[in-house]
Symmetry: C2
DNA sequence: GTACCGTCTGTAGCAACTACAGACTCAAGC
DNA sequence: GCTTGAGTCTGTAGTTGCTACAGACGGTAC
């Protein structure tokens, strides 16, 4: 499999695939005589894993840990569960923050009387107290 | 006012103040004989504006537009309202995305039977279909 | 005078890519 | 056989919004 095929099979950009290789997430594949990267199914599996974890919002560092853990099949999956739970907490915090922000911004917009900037409540809210 | 005072008055780091100056968001202030930046109340007002807009999640580009608009007091505040509404939509989209993510991650975590990695449903979910 | 803090400029780093530049390879059409 | 276009190669620089130095200088308290 050439890099373009691997990329489109995983909805990834070619540059991103090379980037993952550079940072050590994806092992360097064999090369053809023309120095093209030649991927096998194990690369496809690994890249799929990375992309799905990324889609779930895991950082690349978390993905790296998950990959390491997934390589040791005999180990307890406690650590995996832990990483996922920490991430879930992060998401909950983000949702909370954004919801509070949304409320505040909604209030600010709601106060707009659509006059001139001089009377604009939005600008006023942002200005000095 | 020296840069440290301005920074602490607006809960900003000194480096960030200098950064805002460098990218043209904050006008370069006068200098003392020792080449220290000397700020006035207009700088305080402008930096407060920037920080509050940032707290509401506006990008620096949006802040730049809001600052330009707020300088023309006679103009209608339609444009201001527009920027704020676009931003509100962005936030709504982000909340939606995160909520969907949260649901999915929660499902994945819920499937974990706390055995070995070989049977781990979390790893399995991430792996190839 | 001597600590110790604050300030100065300039540069490099963070996450996670993305977008080039300039050279090479390959497959299809004429 | 030759050209054209697409794909690939390496390497570097850009993105957002800061943050963290390094190394030099200024100001103040004891």
């Amino acid at each position: 499999m050439k890099i373009g095929e691997l990329a489109s099979a995983t909805a990834t950009k070619v540059e991103t695939v090379r980037y993952y290789e550079k940072i050590g997430l994806l092992p360097p594949p064999a090369r053809t005589s023309a120095n093209y990267r030649a991927y096998g199914t194990e690369h496809l599996a690994r890249l799929s894993f990375i992309r799905r974890a990324r889609d779930l919002g895991f950082t690349l560092e978390a993905v790296r840990e998950l990959l390491t853990l997934s390589d040791d099949k005999a180990q307890s999956c406690e650590a995996v569960d832990g990483i996922a739970r920490v991430h879930l907490n992060d998401i909950d915090r983000k949702i909370g923050d954004l919801t509070a922000l949304r409320r505040e911004l909604d209030r600010v917009i709601g106060s707009c009387r659509h006059g001139t900037v001089a009377d604009c409540k939005i600008i006023e809210t942002l200005g000095p107290r």
